[in-house]
């Protein structure tokens, strides 16, 4: 094979396979260039940047929808783009639709609140789009280079976004803290990446999983004198986890979160808490499944390799049975043969040490994150700071199903897919809840120049619509029916039960207790808004028509999805059907 053929096959692969599936990101890139170029020409700079950004965002959203509509998600097969740098599957497609929809909502919000004005609107939209492209790359990373590039591309513009309000001391302090923490954790993550890539001799995630199988961790640990290599591997994994924990604002790398949320403007907080977090969770899924699972491997095949005789027939028989029948079979009393299969299907694959390491680290961190976030939210007087701690707590809730999914990969891939889909579902609800909450905060800031919870007293008398929407959103964040948050949390708990085991039960109990704790501080805000009498100095609250419509458009789905969650739940389900192809 000479150079000419390599180059030709590379070009044809890029042009025919990779670029068409990379359309939404390309549309955003073009929008950024157009936004920057139109400013240079005297005639073109009359076009409002908002119009260009909105057009670009909508085209990108349209391009991110799968060709056959959303119902086609289940049929998307896993593909590698750009010679294995990115992976394209239904999870990528789901997260991309999520991010593009968020981008459109976000630029509309920034326009309505006046954060992105005519003067520097271009910069604002460029930074937001650049960050969204980075998040798309995070969500589809299949190589350690794209993993790192995605994290950096998502982070660097958001440092600037958090300090985008010029001349405010707090805003510049927030940006400085965010940049220093972010760059520091990114450096540590890169060093961990270099260790992992060096030991396993590859940076391509599926190849690394293959190498891990050959690496034979259990054997090396048993031998005793080669434990150093395993130790370095674990160290590299933990350092990689530092970068992820920063993006997720998981304890102990959460210090930036409350400060940045208080200093940055509320719109940017919505951006950081929804889009950035969803992308980080998707990346966590990619890392967990990338290292803990070799593509194409099923529990049956692993078990068959381990026990070549009896299990093959059982596995073959199990594969022939349609899913509905298998469900009934699972409920039937366990016979001897079934017990043997269950035994063989227990997590014994060569990658099980990797999985259990990942599950334990993520599980314990998620419980601590969740508890810390909820306890620290108590005494907060600033609503943005309170919601920052609430974001930390929710990151903990959403990390739990990821741990459950990785724990289930070795046993039951359908259940593991369901666990990931519960995370995606919660992230989708979280978009409406948190963007809605921060939009209300931004509109209220514009009309009453305050972000203190006490100043919201008696809001129900001054602006009933906003008060009702805010109350609904907060109730949903607690997870009380009939709001969407309840369905999301219920699915997450279900996935923990499905995974079973002492750690998962501990996480379940911790999550349940945390929900009870969080009740107090969310409802305290609801009480202030709905029951307390307004202070004498209260200023009138006036929202324009578009602002009211925007708040309503984000709040109504929170109630609607709580009552009728089926359509969106089915999308999330379809998105994870082919995750382990």
């Amino acid at each position: 094979m000479n150079l000419q053929t390599i180059v030709n096959s590379l070009i044809s692969d890029t042009v025919t396979t990779s670029l068409p599936l990379f359309k939404p990101e390309l549309v955003l890139c073009v929008t950024i260039v157009v936004l920057l170029v139109t400013r240079l020409f005297p005639g073109l700079n009359k076009i409002p940047p908002f119009a260009i950004a909105l057009l670009g965002g909508i085209v990108a959203l349209w391009a991110s929808l799968p060709a056959g509509g959303i119902a086609d998600w289940a049929k998307i097969e896993r593909q590698e783009l750009f010679t294995g740098m990115l992976t394209y599957d239904a999870v990528t497609a789901f997260i991309r639709v999520f991010l593009m929809a968020f981008a459109v909502l976000f630029i509309v919000l920034a326009r309505l609140t006046g954060l992105a004005d005519r003067e520097d609107g271009q910069d604002f939209y460029c930074l937001a789009f650049g960050s969204i492209i980075g998040m798309c790359i995070m969500a589809s990373a299949n190589h350690l280079l794209t993993l790192f590039l995605g994290v950096e591309m998502a982070s660097v513009p958001s440092y600037v976004l958090s300090g985008v309000v010029k001349g405010r001391r707090r805003s510049s302090e927030a940006a400085l803290k965010y940049a220093v923490y972010g760059a520091g954790t990114a450096g540590v993550m890169l060093y961990g990446v270099s260790l992992l890539a060096g030991i396993l001799g590859s940076a391509h995630l599926p190849t690394m999983a293959q190498q891990l199988v050959e690496f034979d961790i259990a054997g090396k640990l048993a031998e005793g004198d080669q434990y150093m290599q395993v130790l370095v591997l674990a160290l590299g994994g933990l350092m990689l986890g530092v970068g992820l924990a920063f993006k997720l604002s998981a304890v102990p790398f959460h210090f930036w979160c409350p400060d940045v949320f208080e200093g940055a403007s509320a719109e940017v907080d919505g951006f950081l808490s929804v889009a950035s977090k969803a992308a980080a969770l998707a990346l966590l899924v990619r890392v967990g499944i990338g290292f803990g699972h070799v593509p194409g491997e099923t529990p049956e095949s692993v078990a068959a390799a381990a026990r070549p005789t009896a299990t093959v027939q059982l596995a073959a028989a199990a594969a022939d049975v349609p899913p509905a029948v298998r469900l009934i079979a699972d409920e039937a009393p366990v016979t001897d043969g079934d017990a043997e299969t269950a035994d063989a299907a227990a997590d014994t694959g060569p990658l099980s040490p990797v999985r259990s390491f990942f599950v334990q680290v993520v599980g314990i961190v998620s419980v601590i994150t969740c508890t810390f976030g909820n306890l620290a939210a108590y005494g907060q007087k600033n609503i943005k700071r309170m919601l920052a701690y609430s974001t930390i707590a929710h990151a903990g809730y959403m990390m739990m199903p990821v741990a459950a999914a990785v724990a289930l990969v070795g046993r039951d891939q359908a259940a593991a897919g369901d666990a990931v889909s519960s995370m995606l579902l919660y992230a989708a609800f979280y978009l409406f809840m948190n963007l809605g909450a921060f939009a209300i905060i931004a509109f209220l800031r514009n009309s009453m120049q305050s972000e203190q919870i006490d100043d919201y007293a008696g809001l129900i008398g001054r602006s009933p619509l906003v008060a009702l929407c805010l109350t609904g959103i907060l109730v949903s964040l607690v997870g009380i029916p009939p709001m969407a948050g309840f369905i999301g949390k219920f699915r997450i708990f279900q996935s923990l039960v499905e995974a079973g085991g002492p750690l998962m039960m501990f996480m379940l109990v911790a999550a349940g207790l945390n929900t009870a704790i969080s009740l107090v501080y969310y409802l305290r805000v609801c009480k202030t808004v709905c029951i307390d009498s307004p202070p004498d100095t209260s200023r009138p609250v006036a929202l324009g028509f578009f602002a009211s419509a925007y708040v309503l458009a984000l709040s109504l789905p929170v109630l609607a999805f709580g009552i009728l969650p089926n359509s969106i739940a089915q999308w999330a389900q379809a998105a994870t059907a082919g995750l382990f192809g």
């Binding site: 302090e173 400085l176 220093v180 450096g187």
Partner: protein, 119 residues
């Protein structure tokens, strides 16, 4: 036999381990610099050291002279290092702009002055 590791490094011909040792020293210096410097520019320099420590690892793991053909990262190593250099430049540009903005508001680049947001 781990206590003899450093002695081995001094007697063996230069290999991956030597590069990794230098990289690790750079990494530790960088982390210490980030943790101990009170000047924001010093912290940024620490971050550069950490990134370059990782870069040195990538180069060593990618080199076919150090690890033999088909053993290490191959071309991925130097390519990742190149991308990291570009990213480090972009990150430094943004971070310096943010530090300048901070200086305009506080008349100082001492990160201990960034104490308005806490609680």
């Amino acid at each position: 036999m781990h206590h003899f590791m450093l002695a081995n490094l001094l007697t063996e011909p230069v290999g991956v381990a030597h590069y990794m040792a230098v990289g690790a020293v750079l990494f530790v210096c960088g982390v210490l610099c980030m943790a101990l410097k009170r000047n924001a520019l010093g912290v940024l320099m620490g971050i550069e050291l950490v990134l370059n420590g990782a870069n040195l690892n990538f180069i060593a793991f990618g080199s076919r002279f150090l690890r033999g053909e088909g053993q290490g990262l191959g071309l991925d190593g130097p390519l990742m290092a190149l991308f990291v250099i570009v990213l480090a430049a972009a990150e430094a540009a943004v971070a310096l702009a943010i530090v300048l903005n901070f200086y305009n508001n506080y008349d100082s680049v001492d990160i201990d002055r960034a104490d308005q947001l806490q609680g």
